[in-house]
Amino acid sequence: MDSLIRILRQNSAIPRADLARLLGLTEADVSAKIAKLEADGMILGYHAVINSEQWDAEAVTAAIEVRVSPEREGGFDRIANRIAGFEEVESVYLMSGGYDLLVIVNGSNLREVASFVAAKLSTIESVLSCATRFRLKTYKENGLLHAIEEVPERLSVTP
C-alpha cells in the first residue's frame, strides 16, 4: 500500500496498467486497492499542479495568520471548519507558535482577497486578529520546482 501511495503522490495520472506492472499486481488488484483508499478517505482527491503564475499572472495567493479564541467545547475545530468552508480558502492548518490557524487563500486579484479578509474572515466572532502575507513568487510547490530544470546529459551507453 505504501508503494502505491508513493507512486500516486508523484503521479496520480499514471495508467492503471503501468501501476500494476510496477507493483507486480493485476490491474483489478490495483483498482480495488485504490477504491479502498478512496473509500477510507486516505486518498481525498487528484489534482494537476498548475503553475498559477504562468496561467494567470493577476492571481493572488495569501497566507493569513489567524489568532482565534478557542471554544470551551470543540477547541479550534468548529471555527477552523467554518473558515475552511469558504471556497476562497485552499488550506487551513492549526499551527503551534504565535498564532493559531494558517489560512491559505486564493483570489483572482488583490481586492478579492482583501475583501474576503475584511468581510468574511475578520468578522467571525472568535477571530481575534489576522495578519495577511501575500505571495510574491513561487519556487517550489507540492514537491515540484517551478523553474523547469534542464535534464543533465548522460552518455548513451556505459558499462
Binding site: R21, G24, S156, V157, T158
Partner: protein
C-alpha cells in the same frame, strides 16, 4: 615501424561497450537502456555539502588514505550495514571509485603469471585489469538456469596451484544476480582451503530488492583477514561522476595499495570526499527512495519483457535485467545492432561481459519509466518481426 605501444597494453582488446557506444553516438533519437549508471542526479543535500566545502575553501590535498573524517564515516557505515569492523586509521583507503580500488588491489597482490578467478558474465574491467597487473584471468561461467549464482563446485574445477585471488561482485552487473548465503559460505570455505585472497566488489550491495538482506563474504567467519572489501558511492547514492570509492581490508594490503595510490593519484578529490561524508552520514533516506523506484521499474520491465515473449528472470539486485534473446536466432551482437538500426533502441550485447553472455542482452532500468516503456514496446515489435 614497430608499435610504440607497450605490448601488454596492445594485447588488451577495447571494451565491447565502447565500440557499441560509438555507433550509438552517431545516431539520433536513440532510446537507451544501455546506461550503467543511475538516472537520478546526486541528491541535493549531497551536492550542497560539496558546494559548502568549496565555499569554506577546502581545496587542498587530503591524507593519502583519505580524509580521516571520511574514513571514520566509512568504518561506521560498513560496521552498521555489513557487520564488519575496520579500523579507520590503517584498514581503509579512499579511492577514485571502485575501479581504482580494483586496479590497486590487483597491482598490489599479483606476481607475474598469478591466476585470478572471477565469475562471468561480469563487469567489463575485471579481465583487462588482471592482465594489466600481470595476472592471468580465469573466468568461471555462471548460468541463467541457476540465476547466475556462482557455484563453489565450478571454482574447484578452475583452481590451480597458481591461483592467488578470487574476485566476486554481487549483485552482479550485468545479471543482477545475488549470492544465497549457503553458497557464499561454501565459497568462503573454498577460499580458505586454497589460501586465496578474495576481492569483493560491493558496488551494488545497497541495491537488493524485496527486503532481501545483502551478505558480504568479508563478514563470514575467518574471511576478514583474507578479504578486501571494495565499495563506492556511484550506484547507491547516484554519484558516478564524483569518482569516489573505498577499500577496506587487512592492514598489509591497504598499506601496499596506499603505496601505489600515493605515487599515482595522491588522494581522491577532496570535494568528492566531502560529498561522500554527507552521503554516508545522511544519505540513507534518498538511497532508499531511489531503491524503491528501481524495484518498481524492475517489476515493470521484467513483466513487460516476459509478456512480449522475451524470457527474462526477475533479478534480485543491481539495476539490470538480462533477458534471453536466443529465440530470435540472432547472436547478442547481431540482436543489439539490428535493434539499434531498426528500432533506435540501445541495449548492450551480453558478450560485452564475457563470452558466457552470448544469447543475452543487458537492459538497464536506471532510466525514466516512459523511456523504459517505449524501449520495451519497440523491442517487442522487433522480436515479433
Amino acid at each position: 615501424m614497430s608499435s610504440r605501444i607497450a605490448s601488454h597494453v596492445r594485447d588488451i582488446p577495447r571494451s565491447g561497450i565502447r565500440d557499441f557506444f560509438e555507433i550509438v553516438q552517431s545516431m539520433k533519437g536513440v532510446v537507451s537502456l544501455g546506461i550503467g549508471e543511475p538516472d537520478f542526479v546526486t541528491p541535493w543535500h549531497i551536492r550542497e555539502a560539496a558546494v559548502y566545502s568549496l565555499e569554506k575553501g577546502r581545496t587542498g590535498y587530503t591524507s593519502n588514505l583519505g580524509d580521516p573524517r571520511l574514513r571514520r564515516s566509512i568504518a561506521k557505515y560498513v560496521e552498521k550495514n555489513f557487520s564488519i569492523a575496520y579500523n579507520p586509521h590503517d584498514e581503509i583507503i579512499v579511492t577514485v571509485g571502485v575501479s581504482e580500488g580494483i586496479d590497486l588491489a590487483l597491482r598490489a597482490l599479483l606476481n607475474p603469471g598469478d591466476e585470478v578467478l572471477y565469475h562471468e558474465p561480469c563487469y567489463v574491467s575485471y579481465s583487462p585489469s588482471i592482465a594489466l597487473a600481470g595476472g592471468k584471468a580465469i573466468p568461471v561461467t555462471t548460468r541463467a538456469e541457476d540465476e547466475f549464482v556462482l557455484r563453489a563446485a565450478d571454482l574447484e574445477k578452475a583452481v590451480t596451484p597458481r591461483t592467488r585471488l578470487l574476485m566476486l561482485s554481487f549483485p552482479t552487473n550485468p545479471t543482477g544476480a545475488v549470492m544465497p548465503p549457503d553458497e557464499l559460505a561454501k565459497i568462503a570455505a573454498f577460499a580458505v582451503k586454497h589460501d586465496l585472497v578474495v576481492l569483493t566488489d560491493e558496488i551494488y550491495s545497497e541495491l537488493t530488492y524485496d527486503d532481501l538482506p545483502h551478505h558480504s563474504i568479508a563478514a563470514l567467519p575467518g574471511m576478514k583477514e583474507r578479504t578486501l572489501f571494495l565499495h563506492g558511492f556511484s550506484k547507491a547514492f547516484a554519484m558516478t561522476g564524483w569518482r569516489i570509492g573505498f577499500a577496506c581490508g587487512p592492514n598489509d594490503i591497504i598499506e601496499a595499495m596506499m603505496k601505489i595510490h600515493q605515487y599515482s593519484i595522491m588522494c581522491a578529490s577532496t570535494m568528492a570526499q566531502e560529498a561522500a561524508i554527507e552521503a554516508l552520514e545522511r544519505g540513507q533516506r534518498s538511497m532508499e527512495q531511489m531503491r524503491e523506484e528501481y524495484r518498481q521499474r524492475r517489476n515493470f520491465i521484467v513483466s513487460s519483457l516476459n509478456d512480449a515473449g522475451i524470457p527474462c528472470h526477475l533479478p534480485k539486485g543491481a539495476f539490470y535485467v538480462f533477458p534471453d534473446i536466443r529465440s530470435t536466432g540472432l547472436s547478442s551482437k547481431e540482436f543489439s545492432l539490428a535493434l539499434l538500426k531498426e528500432k533506435n533502441v540501445a541495449v548492450v550485447p551480453g558478450t560485452a561481459f564475457g563470452a558466457s553472455g552470448e544469447g543475452y542482452v543487458r537492459c538497464s532500468y536506471a532510466a525514466a519509466l516512459d523511456q523504459i516503456k517505449i524501449a520495451v514496446e519497440r523491442i517487442a515489435e522487433f522480436v515479433r518481426k
